[in-house]
């Protein structure tokens, strides 16, 4: 044969080089370890129906244990995915998604990975595991977007042990890797800023997705009020969908309140913009009649005048860090390593906050 040093791969009877046999496990290596044929292992990976349940379980366990890597021919394909629970890149969340994508693309340059966009709901068959799904798509790792309704999906993926990292959400589960921006300190500073200006009745316009980010912002709001000795009035807390129209609803609600509200903190970029627009529409002068603090993922706060005072988080940095960690973990083969990082947010004072006009009875026309 004349191929230099060769050994017989255990069980399979195929001649191969000694170095490769131990470095990267193949379908045939897994098959021989489990006393199965390569065909059966391949069937498990592609979720073919005619394979026994217990056999499938054994193969999947082995796959995630030894860190199997699918190849095309002899080449390893370096692809990671950005997986959404449903439609990717929805515009309702403002500029968060494009900024995130941009950061991920930059982070992938380091290890020369490519990015694939996946829609889990559409493509994943109900009877396949997440590992099977991702393997079938030919990807080696996944960046996950997390919303309120798919936290259980995230923990399932972590349980299976497939390389994954969640962006912009926090988990107590030590198996879940995530990178998020901590909105709490900046949100608290934002409300403290309003309090220091003399505001006492401050409304909170919450995005109703109830992910950990928005919970942080609410906590910042409540803690700032509590420390200042101000009461937390639940009638001032509004939970709405994201978007411009909800901002309008918020302003209308504020104007309709019997006790005047002099400031509002909106935890979603579009909501704050909607508040600003509706305020002009109804003759409410910002910041004289109403102070507005928003949250911004990119530079939407600059679209309006006065420029919006806002808690800003760098969505691009989230994507960058997530992609860097994921790809490095994959190429180093450190499947067990964990990532639970938090990057800071900032609070930026612009033109929409000022001391309340004390003598007014009610804001509005």
């Amino acid at each position: 044969m004349g191929r230099g040093k060769s050994v017989i791969d255990e069980g399979s009877g195929v001649v191969k080089r000694a170095v490769e046999a131990v470095s990267v496990p193949s379908v045939r290596a897994i098959a021989s370890r489990l006393k199965l044929s390569p065909a059966t292992v391949s069937r498990v990976l592609n979720n073919h129906p005619d394979v026994d349940h217990s056999t499938r379980e054994r193969v999947l366990a082995c796959i995630n244990q030894v860190g199997y890597v699918p190849r095309v021919g002899r080449r390893i394909t370096n692809v990671v995915a950005l997986a959404y629970p449903d439609e990717p890149v929805r515009s309702e969340y403002g500029a968060f998604e494009p900024a995130l994508l941009s950061g991920i693309m930059r982070g992938l340059e380091d290890q020369h990975f490519d990015l694939k966009l996946l829609n889990i709901r559409r493509d994943k068959k109900p009877d396949e595991t997440f590992t099977q799904f991702f393997m079938r798509k030919g990807i080696r790792g996944v960046v996950l977007r997390c919303f309120r309704f798919n936290r259980s999906v995230i923990t399932s993926i972590a349980e299976e042990g497939f390389p994954a990292v969640v962006v912009a959400a926090e988990f107590d589960d030590p198996r879940v890797n995530f990178i998020r921006a901590d909105s709490y300190p900046s949100s608290r500073r934002a409300v403290e800023h309003l309090i220091s200006l003399g505001h006492k009745r401050i409304a909170l316009a919450m995005h109703n997705v109830a992910d950990s980010d928005h919970a942080d912002r609410r906590r910042g709001y409540e803690d700032a009020l509590f420390r200042a000795g101000l009461p937390i009035d639940h009638s001032l807390v509004m939970e709405l969908a994201a978007g411009l129209t909800s901002g309008e609803q918020v302003l209308d609600s504020i104007l309709g309140m019997p006790e005047p509200v002099t400031a509002v903190f909106a935890t979603n970029p579009m909501t704050a913009i909607g508040i600003m627009r509706r305020a002009r529409e109804r003759g409410v002068l910002v910041p004289r009649d109403l102070s507005v603090v928003g949250v911004d993922d990119s530079d939407v706060r600059m679209h309006v005048w006065p420029r919006l005072t806002a808690v800003t988080q760098d969505a691009s940095a989230l994507g960058l860090e997530a992609a860097l960690w994921l790809t490095r973990m994959i190429v180093k083969g450190e499947r067990g390593s964990k990532c639970q990082r938090t990057i800071p947010t900032t609070f930026e004072v612009n033109g929409t906050t000022a001391a309340p006009a004390a003598r007014r009875k009610s804001a509005g026309q």
Copy 2:
């Protein structure tokens, strides 16, 4: 052998079934047709250096002629790419990119394709052809973003014959497939609308990328003026980069003009938003002191008050149509079919246009 009807594949000496041998060409089929080994064909596909120039040319010609499709094992992978000349998903162009992406993802559902994001500048090696590049990335077709500096790249790809479609740009070359929104009629209507309100000195704020879309908008502006018998004053035409700050420059320029300007048409979404913000900052009332018409890819025109009168194009529809055409062309195997489609834009009158205040001598403070 017991595999039913079998034939000897010409030249290669490998036994295969008759049906598959004619339907989808493989590396070995191309090799035998050109009297080469599969190894050499594979080397061409992966741009290995040690293959003769003339051999590479022959293989590449054959590849694009017979429509070779790379497979993983025996499976055909259905992946298309969205390729950018440089960094994907830049935020300077407003919400165009996310809307486009969203539309593409919807369009891919029909034929169950996946999407990969590619950066041509980063990943394409200088000495490989585009066909080699795309094959190496395992994709079957590509949606191309086009800017002023990469039109030659687009025609090169079309020359090679790789399945491709350009979004949001127009080409005279019959080989280039594209889907674009025609900004001309709506732009012209926009300026005619301003003229009908009584405006005579109308500024044009151009995005300096000089792609066909922006050229259309300029033509609409000039034709509307010409048909109304108004002179085209080149001092009223400003070419700037996209972005909020250029909008500020536009407004400052307008205020500094000796003859008062009563209306402005901005061909870029962010520029119009910047004009609106700067106008408020400098005490210019829109639309009383200045009428503003913008262009919008999504719903940025709703961020301000009054809502922006704008030419709107549906970037999501562009992506949808491009993805639908590309994937259907690929699965039907109609490599020669052409797509040069134009979808309409609309002109939406909102709150930023009104009759000029005739007696004023100069806008602004």
